[in-house]
Symmetry: C2
Subunit: 153 residues, 2 copies
């Protein structure tokens, strides 16, 4: 007879990560859905364009971890809300540069401080060192999960 296995879901890394991510990101999502009327993918694209205006859809897809289908649909909805406009690339008529409109920039300027405020509340009990180590650990896991073995720290 084999020895009983000692395994608890609650101490299992993937479950812990998913649960924490859902609760943390879910709280913020409620904030910008209820307070600013935008969805999660809309927020991701808005955040990216606020930081790097004029990128193309393909780059947006890489930056936001949204596939090209979702980017296309999210851009359509952001455009219909008046937050984003497209400027066709004159050298490659398939693609377009994406820009925030004035209204989009204004929304970005209102959301970011609230998001940062929310983040710092979330991190309130954590030291700067803990925060740095958390990000380091997450980066390590991300790289491992994607099959990249990073150079040692």
């Amino acid at each position: 007879m084999s020895a009983p296995i000692d395994f608890s879901l609650d101490n299992f890394l993937p479950y812990k990560l998913v649960k924490t991510a859902e609760h943390v990101a879910g709280g913020l999502a409620r904030l910008y859905e209820e307070e600013f009327g935008i969805t999660r993918p809309e927020w991701r694209i808005l955040a990216t364009l606020g930081n790097r205006d004029g990128v193309k859809a393909k780059e947006l897809s890489a930056e936001t971890s949204l596939d090209k289908v979702r980017v296309s649909r999210t851009l359509a909805s952001l455009e219909s809300k008046g937050y984003v406009c497209r400027v066709r690339d004159q050298n490659d008529h398939r693609a377009a540069y994406l820009h925030l409109t004035l209204k989009g920039k204004e929304l970005y300027q209102r959301i970011v401080p609230r998001a940062l405020e929310w983040e710092s509340e979330m991190l309130a009990g954590m030291s700067a060192a803990q925060y740095r180590d958390l990000f380091k650990a997450l980066d390590l896991l991300l790289a491992k999960a994607d099959g990249v073995t990073p150079s040692p720290l």
Copy 2:
């Protein structure tokens, strides 16, 4: 004119968490979907019952972060696959104790070692202290996200 905002999605905690969780948990999910033919919620319930046999659906819901609807449906599919059986509570005929069948226990015994092996590969580059700190940080965030202010570490 206001100063330009320095904000990058990639350094923003909720995004980082979600992205890491998706990549990490996604890799494992492929493992037990392809190798063992069970879905994520099925795995969560199997893992819980393997550890705490005979709990009721309501407790399963709390343990697995799945709502009662999903628990009910997942139990139905696990039952139809022959991994789980129900024993009505004689004192409360609304509820039932959930048990792994022999086939369910056998599956659990095969999956857990693979899952732990996969986890340790994922944690390979991380020291014991880093691992402990990561879990501590995740617990802290989870408690904060759920609005509980835990006692200081």
